[in-house]
């Protein structure tokens, strides 16, 4: 897939030399007639945390299960550290997984759970003891070594599950919806903690999540998946600021999308002009996409890039007049829903810098929305 390769070259310009540890080559998985995963190719670099992000049924979990070995790909190959592992059963793969439900053995203590994988390797009793103690310390669970899983809280269970999946020094760690079973407050705390632990161990990690915030907090790179295909791969900033399609733009965060047609332009122009029937003035963007005149395109503008004012902006392009129809006050920020001519609603977020509400636009106010040329992104698909 060219998406993956194009972003790979983008990242190659980064300072760190990147070494690929896992290659997913044209992997397809069929369940009956349905393609759960459709011709996915992906490269995971050594030591990174990579998140597969997508809605339910997009194939992300199937892809993860193929990496773990619980599902066999219908076509394609999976290569880990130079070894083709496509046909290896799970118990022969140097890959460990933290399950969504944690899957801790209820009849074993915390210690025994962590030691379980080590015993399969034929380590001596002393080696196992040392390793278990080390893992318990790593996840701050030494005090609970002799407890059974049902005597632990959700967060504690997760730590044990993480320790168990790290105990065998896997070449690849898989996390399946790692925060799925936790409440929201604990989730934010554990996200950072899990990342710290994973980074301190230095293991390569592929995680699956439907929660974009979680993916962006934890992962160094994301792969957006939809209907079995990878739509875009990139760092959280790349994916958020430069979505390559309407789908990714709408999946990650909120976005305002204007349909339009590319204007004729001078050869040496640095800006791209787009006429949209929804706006009175043209859209102007810095040139960041290869488009030709007359081409129908969509322009995406993130809500926080739009500013709200009572006076008409001086710029000739990138503004629109409207009426405030809704305000969602979220404390730190407020989201304005502004209705423009034609009935279309535009979302914009405003940081509540001042405490007083006097100068802020309120329901029914006529306001001007504007953004600069660097804010819009052209989407061709």
């Amino acid at each position: 897939m060219n998406v993956a390769t194009s972003t790979a070259t983008m990242a190659d310009s980064a300072k760190r030399p990147e070494q690929t540890i896992l290659q997913i080559q044209q992997v397809t998985k069929m369940f009956g007639d349905t393609k759960a995963v459709n011709d996915v190719s992906l490269e995971i670099r050594k030591g990174e945390i990579f998140a597969l992000l997508g809605g339910s049924g997009c194939g992300k979990t199937t892809l993860l299960r193929m990496l773990a070995g619980f599902e066999r790909p219908t076509a394609g190959r999976i290569i880990l550290d130079g070894q083709d592992i496509t046909a290896l059963p799970p118990y022969e793969r140097p890959i460990n997984m933290m399950f969504q439900s944690y899957a801790l053995f209820p009849h074993m203590s915390v210690e025994q759970n962590i030691a379980f994988g080590l015993k399969q390797d034929g380590m001596t009793r002393n080696q196992i003891g040392d390793r278990v103690a080390h893992m318990l310390k790593l996840v701050h669970m030494s005090k609970y070594a002799r407890r059974k899983p049902h005597q632990l809280s959700g967060g504690q269970r997760q730590r044990v599950a993480l320790a168990r999946s790290l105990a065998k020094h896997p070449k690849l760690l898989l996390l399946d919806e790692p925060m799925g079973a936790l409440d929201k407050k604990l989730r934010t705390q554990m996200q950072l903690e899990v990342v710290n632990i994973i980074e301190s161990v230095g293991v390569t990690c592929v995680m699956v999540t439907h929660d974009q915030e979680e993916a962006m907090t934890m992962a160094g790179r994301l792969g957006i998946m939809d209907s079995g295909e990878i739509c875009q791969v990139g760092s959280p900033t790349e994916v958020y600021e430069y979505p390559n399609s309407r789908l990714t733009a709408e999946f990650i965060g909120s976005v305002n999308i204007f349909e339009g047609v590319v204007n004729e332009q001078a050869e040496d122009a640095e800006e791209l002009l787009i006429t949209s029937s929804e706006l009175e003035c043209p859209l102007e963007l810095s040139l960041n996409a290869s488009v030709s005149a007359g081409m129908p395109v969509a322009v995406a503008v993130r809500p926080e890039k739009i500013s709200v004012s009572f006076e008409r902006p001086e710029q000739a392009a990138n503004w629109v007049k409207g009426t405030v129809s809704d305000i969602a006050y979220l404390g730190g920020i407020s989201t304005y829903h502004v209705e423009i001519t034609g009935g279309r609603r535009i979302q914009c977020t405003v940081a509540n810098v001042a405490r007083s509400t006097q100068d802020r636009a309120t329901w029914g106010d006529e306001v001007y929305l504007s953004w600069d040329t660097a804010s819009g992104v052209v989407l061709t698909s």
Binding site: P89, Y91, F99, S101, A103, F105, P106, F116, G117, H150
Partner: protein, 301 residues
């Protein structure tokens, strides 16, 4: 509101009392009667025993005769019969477990649509009378029965195997009759097992067979115990199977009890036999209860 609550709690008391009344009427009172008879002296009368309490000449006589229990100790027939019953029940339980566990396992792992059909197949034989099914085994096992004829026709054996009227036939009968009682609790237990645990074991490098021993088997302990109790307890007192399929030298306490009761018409000794059998069975039942209470306490924690 309070009235409503009162009414509600009364209703609850009433509903809870139903099983207690049932147990009182059909378990405790019959047990008390048997206990009474076991402490009386046999007599040629109808019924064939003397009353414990008699009142004559201003004297209230309460006579508790422990002789029946003493008698059981003196004649080693009873001891051997008890021992043999326990042994037979134990091995039959082990056999049921060996046969039933794989069946329950594959039923629980089968596809949902197939699962119910398999469950029906396990339950279906119980729709025929128990007695008839045991009689059918006579036809299968006797010297010129189905099994021997078949084995001889394919040339595997040249003279009929003597199975009927031996202990082997008793084992076959008990395993056949009680297998569903082993399968059903095991099936229920294995069905609710979290399959991600097996995946986790495999993910941690455990081979399938070892995963079974280390994860599946320990987690199905409750099902194994429940199934074993359901087979062991009735098998100890089993009477029909040893008397129909077993031989003259098949010594089981149920058979001894029957003979004592009907052939010897010695109700007090027969009752004493029954009481001792009940006391012997109390041990595994108490152990089972203790295990269950412990499990429940673990769950609650």
């Amino acid at each position: 509101m309070k009235k409503l609550l009162n009414c509600f709690s009364q209703g609850r008391t009433w509903i809870i009392s139903v099983p207690y009344i049932w147990l009182l009427l059909f378990f405790f009172i019959p047990f008390a009667i048997v206990l009474k008879i076991s402490l009386s002296e046999s007599a040629i009368a109808i019924p064939p025993y003397e009353d414990l309490i008699s009142y004559a000449d201003d004297v209230l006589n309460i006579k508790l005769n422990l002789g029946n229990f003493h008698f059981l100790l003196q004649d080693d027939l009873y001891f051997l019969a008890y021992l043999n019953s326990l042994k037979t029940a134990f091995f039959a339980t082990v056999l049921c477990l060996l046969v039933g566990y794989p069946m329950a396992y594959f039923m629980a792992r089968a596809e949902a649509s197939v699962r119910n059909v398999l469950l029906m197949l396990v339950i279906l034989p119980s729709w025929t009378s128990f007695l008839i099914r045991i009689y059918a085994w006579i036809g299968i096992l006797k010297s010129n029965g189905l099994l021997n004829n078949f084995l001889m026709s394919i040339g595997l054996i040249h003279e009929p195997l003597e199975i009927l009227n031996t202990n082997v036939a008793v084992y076959i009968g008990i395993v056949y009759a009680y297998l569903p009682f082993m399968i059903l609790p095991l099936y229920a237990n294995l069905l609710k097992m979290d399959l991600s645990l097996l995946e986790a074991a495999s993910d941690l490098g455990c081979r399938p067979w070892k995963t079974f021993l280390k994860v599946t088997l320990p987690l199905s302990k409750a099902g194994i115990i429940a199934g074993s109790m359901l087979v062991f307890i009735p098998a100890v007192g089993e009477f029909v199977i040893p008397s129909l399929l077993g031989g003259a030298n098949t010594l089981m306490i149920g058979k001894v009890l029957w003979q004592e009761f009907f052939n010897n018409r010695d109700w007090p000794v027969a009752s004493a036999v029954a009481i001792v059998m009940l006391l012997l069975l109390l041990v595994p039942i108490a152990l089972f209860n203790r295990y269950q209470a412990k499990e429940a306490a673990n769950e609650a924690k």
